[in-house]
Amino acid sequence: EDQVTQSPEALRLQEGESSSLNCSYTVSGLRGLFWYRQDPGKGPEFLFTLYSAGEEKEKERLKATLTKKESFLHITAPKPEDSATYLCAVQDTGNEKLTFGTGTRLTIIP
């Protein structure tokens, strides 16, 4: 059974203080690893898909990386508007559903 574990559960950073969020996964065969952002009271917003170890993708202050066991979401010089819950999910080659972690709640303090 696919499993996704995210750490830390919550992270508070000062504005401009860079850090990384971790997503560890176990999957029989990885089809893709997905990062989403979720604001309070809203649905998840798609950020990135990573397909193979060594792949990296960037969007503004965010960069996602992938190894065979984990993914990192690096946040560089964050701003208060980056505050949200960041969700990681995997899709295995056997089916179309996503298996999600419980998320990291990120707070950026001005």
Binding site: P44, Q91, K97, T99, T102
Partner: protein, 113 residues
């Protein structure tokens, strides 16, 4: 363009009543998914549609839960004889194919009293 829409946005019901939740996917998306997000838990897969067929219903928690999709578009998730443990946010997502990126709607917040 228009994203995934869901209605109602909030629903309060009494234990034992039936509820229907609606999802309108992105136009042209053939795949549609339902997930449930309970407080403090990750999103939990419920059911997947490809067109009007549901090849994966493995996440439906009990036979009180059912879903259908008509015309390859709108989907309805029905919960019969609601229980307090059914209280959660029900999220719908759609994609242009079974292996493509899933885009989520805003969710329906269900509270069973």
């Amino acid at each position: 363009g228009a994203g995934v829409s869901q209605s109602p946005s909030n629903k309060v019901t009494e234990k034992g009543k039936d509820v229907e939740l609606r999802c309108d996917p992105i136009s042209g998306h053939t795949a549609l998914y339902w997930y449930r997000q309970s407080l403090g838990q990750g999103l939990e897969f419920l059911i997947y549609f490809q067109g009007n067929s549901a090849p994966d219903k493995s996440g439906l928690p009990s036979d009180r839960f059912s879903a259908e999709r008509t015309g390859g578009s709108v989907s309805t998730l029905t919960i019969q004889r609601t229980q307090q443990e059914d209280s959660a946010v029900y999220l719908c997502a759609s994609s242009s194919g079974g292996w493509e990126t899933q885009y989520f709607g805003p969710g329906t917040r269900l509270l069973v009293l």
